[in-house]
């Protein structure tokens, strides 16, 4: 049995959770009550959506892989809630949380999982390949680590165009060992690219615990020092902390055009994917401990109860509404049609979809400006 992963988590995770040291950070102080409830609602929606997905998967309506984000919600909610209109994101295959956070609707997300034409990628991408460029969401990528250079590239384009924006490029604790990730680190630091590499460290890459996969000077983020890049460690169970530390990195990107590596500690409750029997690499007590004592949604709920922002009735109605929305999304997906056979060969080349020669030689369609 692998060693428990909490060993590599920062101090803040080891002591029993208490009031957040980051509640007064300017980015958090600026939050209204409504903002705080909204963050709660967004996390609840992610969780209920995914729990509904389990059932749909078991019914055989979702094929292939399904990687759940349950347990990691505070990362998507915290990091994405501090972004502005010119800030972008890109992530790996564990992408449902980010999608719902940026405003993709449950219907098209659920329909995509069922391979329906009403899905966000018309049934062509699946669970690992969500996209919504209109919401600055550049996917959903199935190849581990492949999105890191893309994130740097998006940020490069922002800078090139003179926009004050940045790109968050998310990856897992296993992805950090891909060559492409290190090459992206170097380029970002060398060329002053406003990208933020967010490592969602949930302790495991499939069945491999972090200490069996990575050599590092103390943390994965600290590898940044080799490239002269800033870095920070974040307690991913504390929404205030995630927001505060992300905001600092965003500021660095916007104002100095410098990259950052943020390593956010978190935990996934379910197996790597639905096909993972989850038996060989961690023990049940560890999962139980995280579920019961460190659950980011429960902790946020408690914070807001203590602050007097939430009450029991609101909590119940938010959760019921989220469950209801997920059920409706499942029904929507059930009723939606599959793509047509002729759709298989669409969306491959620009000319064929647009019946004419390419006119985008100046890059105008990329941002629609």
């Amino acid at each position: 049995m692998a060693k428990p992963i909490a060993l590599t988590h920062p101090e803040s995770l080891k002591r029993p959770p208490g009031p957040s040291a980051f509640a007064k950070d300017p980015v958090n102080a600026a939050l209204t009550k409504a903002d705080k409830v909204k963050l709660y609602t967004q996390m609840a929606r992610i969780r209920h959506f995914e729990q509904r997905c389990i059932r749909t998967y078991q019914q055989g309506k979702i094929g292939g892989f399904l990687h759940l984000y349950v347990g990691q919600e505070a990362i998507a909610a915290g990091t994405l809630s501090v972004l502005g209109k010119d800030d972008h994101l890109i992530t790996g295959y564990r992408d449902h949380g980010h999608a719902l956070m940026v405003g993709m609707d449950m219907n098209s997300c659920m329909a995509e999982l069922q391979g329906k034409v009403t899905g966000c990628s018309k049934g062509k991408g699946g669970s690992m390949h969500y996209f919504a460029p209109d919401k600055n969401y550049w996917g959903g990528h199935g190849i581990v680590g492949g999105q890191a250079p893309l994130g740097a590239g998006i940020a490069y384009a922002l800078k090139y165009k003179g926009l004050k924006g940045c790109c968050l490029a998310y990856m897992g604790d296993g992805a950090v060992n891909q060559g492409a990730v290190h090459e992206a680190y170097n380029l970002a630091a060398l060329w002053d690219i406003p990208v933020i590499f967010v490592i969602e460290n949930n302790g495991y890459s499939m069945g491999t615990s972090q200490e069996r996969s990575s050599a590092h000077p103390g943390s994965l983020a600290q590898r940044a020092e080799g490239y002269g890049m800033d870095w920070d460690l974040v307690n991913g169970h504390d929404l205030y902390e995630v927001r505060a530390k992300t905001a600092a990195a965003v500021k660095r990107a916007h104002e100095k055009s410098r990259p950052t590596i943020l390593e956010i500690f978190t935990y996934r409750y379910f197996g790597h994917s639905m096909a993972d029997p989850d038996k060989t690499y961690r023990d049940k007590d560890e999962i139980k401990d995280y579920r019961e004592n460190k659950d980011p949604i429960k902790l946020w709920e408690k914070t807001l109860l203590d602050e007097g922002v939430l009450d029991a009735a609101t909590i119940a109605s938010v959760n019921e509404a989220a469950m209801d929305e997920a059920d409706k999304a499942a029904a929507f997906a059930d009723e939606s049609p599959y793509p047509e056979v002729s759709d298989i060969t669409k969306d491959i080349y620009w000319e064929e979809d647009n019946r004419g020669p390419a006119t985008n030689s100046r890059g105008t369609i990329i941002f629609g400006d």
């Binding site: 729990q51 509904r52 389990i54 059932r55 998967y57 078991q58 019914q59 055989g60 309506k61 094929g63 292939g64 892989f65 639905m274 096909a275 029997p277 989850d278 038996k279 059930d334 049609p337 599959y338 793509p339 047509e340 056979v341 002729s342 060969t345 491959i348 080349y349 064929e352």
Partner: protein, 432 residues
């Protein structure tokens, strides 16, 4: 309303699961995430988590059951609610639905029109332009050999291309067959006295296949023919004795007893003769001769609309009784049209018998890729000269062999017939 829990899909490749054990029992109150049961998939034993809070009303499958994904395993509902009848549920939901919708996605023809390659149009080209004759390379080569003028043929291939069959048809100087099964106007004989109407009658797929195969064999395989006459008296005597004993052994079930036919003896003797002259148990394989280790014997069974040739497999290793039983079963299947393709293919030698029609001797067309076919005539009583030089009444049977001269030479063929003759005349040898 209670929800039915199905055998879940637990991995990307799972199609069936074995319910290893239940972790809950009927009446238990279940929360989201409780472990319902353990299921063994193709990859591992996995725990099935509950996704519907409620009371476990019923389990439909016991531990150990192996079930397809989508089969009902349990019902969850409110306390006191009656468990629904799983059969009433409209079949495995996902399964029933997915294909139905998929069907809709397909154009009516079943198999959709598939674009061959992105951006490449694949309109069929006009085959012949100007004076150029459209003919397949193989048809041209065959025509050159057979001295047929390709330009004079009207091709039946796509776009009028002349194909090998057209050349075969021309070479055998039968009028070219109509392109497909067509029914033309039927002209009844003027005075109503003809034996049948003048008509072109559409033929079955079976008849077409027979036509094509036999034509190809007759035209492309260099046939040669050998014949000999066999003294069938010992065989008939042995058959009578054996059948009598078989009936006695069966006692009161005598009418169900195995009855050996002359053909059964001939099949068995052929297998034995092939063992002695294995060169005949072979095929022409283009550039080589393929020898076959096992004897798979095809034999003709006449049906109303044609002829089928079921195959007794590994006849070289079977007793007379086994051969007879196999042949009987195959004949029954042939008559009820239940033969599978596998039961009709893979032969290495064929036996055909028209003795029951009184035909005294004939030569069949080789059943490609066999190297030879044995044709068996009727057993007739006729005067013969016996060993003492006297004229006596003999029981004589004529057997003929058509051989593929590419594979078998006259000498091998003759040796084979000789061996067969000996076995049939001294049938006890077959029992060895």
């Amino acid at each position: 309303m209670a929800d039915i829990i199905d055998m879940p899909k637990l991995s990307d490749t799972m199609t069936v699961g074995t319910l290893v054990k239940w972790n809950v029992k009927e009446g238990d109150t279940l929360a989201f995430g409780d472990i319902l049961c353990e299921v063994e998939t193709d990859k591992a034993t996995m725990e099935v988590q509950n996704t519907i809070p409620g009371v476990l009303l019923k389990t439909y499958a016991a531990a150990g059951a192996q079930l397809p994904v989508g089969a009902p395993i349990a019902a969850i509902g409110k306390k006191g609610e009656a468990a629904p009848d799983p059969a009433a549920k409209k079949a495995p939901a996902a399964k029933a639905e997915a294909p139905a919708k998929a069907e809709k996605a397909k154009p009516a023809a079943g198999v959709p029109a598939i674009p061959e390659s992105t951006g490449v149009s694949c309109a069929p080209q006009a085959l012949a332009s100007g004076d150029r004759v459209a003919a397949s390379p193989y048809a041209k080569r065959m025509a050159a050999k057979a001295g047929v003028n390709v330009a004079a043929l009207s091709g039946t291939g796509p776009g009028g291309r002349v194909v090998a069959n057209d050349v075969l048809a021309a070479a055998s100087s039968t009028p070219a067959a109509p392109a497909g099964p067509v029914n033309v106007a039927v002209t009844p004989p003027a005075d109503g006295k003809g034996i049948q109407p003048d008509a072109d009658v559409a033929v079955s797929g079976m008849r077409q296949t027979i036509a094509r195969r036999l034509l190809e064999s007759k035209v492309t395989v260099p046939h040669f023919y050998l014949e000999t006459e066999v003294d069938a008296a010992p065989l008939l005597a042995l058959r009578e004795t054996l059948n009598k004993r078989l009936a006695e052994a069966a006692g009161k079930d005598a009418k169900d007893a195995l009855k050996l036919s002359v053909n059964d003896f001939i099949l068995k003797a052929s297998a034995e003769a092939l063992r002695r002259v294995p060169a005949v148990n072979a095929s022409w394989a283009g550039t080589s001769i393929r020898t076959h280790g096992a004897v798979h014997l095809a034999f003709g069974v006449a049906l109303e609309d044609g002829l089928v040739t079921p195959v007794v497999r590994d006849a070289q290793a079977k007793s007379l009784r086994e051969v007879a039983l196999d042949a009987k079963a195959l004949i029954a299947k042939a008559r009820s049209k239940k033969l599978t393709p596998a039961e009709m293919s893979g032969s290495t030698f064929t036996v055909t018998n028209l003795g029951m029609y009184g035909v005294t001797g004939f030569f069949g067309i080789i059943n490609v890729p066999n190297a030879a076919i044995l044709s068996v005539g009727a057993t007739v009583a006729k005067p013969v000269v016996d060993a003492q030089g006297r004229i006596v009444v003999g029981q004589r049977m004529v057997i003929g062999l058509s051989g593929d001269h590419r594979v078998v030479d006259g000498a091998n063929g003759a040796q084979f017939l000789q061996a067969l003759k000996q076995l049939l005349e001294e049938p006890a040898l077959m029992m060895l």
